[in-house]
């Protein structure tokens, strides 16, 4: 069976460039699973978890916005930040959440900060 190739790039570096069997990414409105043979797709990512299954192991990343592009069994994820699940800085995320919730004005930036922090905390807890 055809296999996926999963590429994760941030502006600073290429985080992952390896084959995969199944990829799950968080889109703006929920999770999307990508199996080999998926139709071409360009999607906008949200803040949340990305899982890459290859063989027996599953790698988990926290990703922050960006895009996913699927074409020809190549999944490219372009994101501002990609952090391995066990490297999430819980203290920083908690602090971001606290300062954001303390803000009075309900700006989109505040909401984004809250969503980012919550997604990170959730992932860290699950790990």
């Amino acid at each position: 069976m055809a296999e996926l190739h999963c590429i994760v790039v941030t502006p600073e570096k290429t985080v992952r460039d390896e084959p995969a069997e199944f990829v799950t990414v968080t889109l703006f409105d929920g999770e999307l699973g990508i199996a080999p043979g998926h139709s071409p797709l360009i999607g906008r990512l949200g803040y949340g978890e990305m899982r890459v299954r290859h063989g027996q192991s599953t790698t988990r990343f926290y990703i922050e916005g960006g895009f996913v592009e699927v074409e020809n069994n190549v999944v490219s994820v372009l994101t501002n930040r990609a952090v391995a699940a066990d490297k999430i800085d819980i203290a920083a995320a908690q602090q971001q959440l606290d300062t954001a919730t303390a803000q009075e004005a309900k700006t989109p930036e505040r909401q984004a900060a809250i969503d980012q922090a919550r997604a990170q905390l959730q992932m860290a807890r699950r790990a």
């Binding site: 790039v9 502006p11 600073e12 570096k13 409105d29 071409p40 360009i42 999607g43 906008r44 501002n80």
Partner: protein
Amino acid sequence: MAKARALDRRRKSIRSIRKITRTMELISTARFRKAMDRAVAASAYTKRIMSLVGHLSTAGLEVHHPLLEPHAETSRAGLLVISANRGLCGGYNSSIMRQGFAQYKLLKADVPNVSLEIVGKRGISAFRFRKYEIAERFTHFEDKPTFAEVEVLANRYLELYRTGKLDRLDVVYTKFESLGRQRAVVETLLPLGQLESAPAGTKGGSREDSHVQYELLPTAASIVDEVVPASFKVKLFKCFLDAAVSEQIARRVAMKNATENAGEMIGSLSIAYNRARQSQITGELLEIIGGAEALNK
């Protein structure tokens, strides 16, 4: 004796200078490699963004976004000058300054309000010396600018542009063209103008059909909304990375020359020292012989 000793002292001090410049050369070589690796890593993202834009446009999508359109009237411009925090890097800072001053004058002639923002201590002091008003100054960008740091700046520009407080943004930085060639250039980042896109079919040879139907989630407009700021950010980030790489190259070249010059100087001083010492010895010998002759009489 005095002259020979003075020469020897000078030779010693030049030796220690050579040691220092040699070390600095090695350090900047190492830093340059790291900066270069980062720049190469970053270009993967740029390439993918470009191919994404290419795919969007081949999908028959018109890319429209307020960031791409110039404002009707340009009354407020920003000029960002990226210089180094440290000197001793040859003509790096001075060529940036030359470009910066010229561009500032040019903007001043066209646009009533120009706000000057400068990265790097060298640039700040040069502009302050000429009594220009500096709106913002940044010194926290070292040889490893991170995307998170640059993003803060980029978000501020985007906000200003969106709210109409900024109509144009020019960046003066040193563009890395090749290992042997870096140039101080001026680039207009806002309005973005046309998004750069990789021509269809460049990504691998496997794509013979450029008319792949993409499923766009959620909508094309929403994706464009995200692509345009992302490509602005990555462009700005690239400016910083290029500047960092070029600075290290400039420093390495400058230090290499300094080391070579010190070596030459040590050579010529050694010759002068040996001559002085020899003539001194000859003089002393003549005196001794003269003295002995006088005693024998």
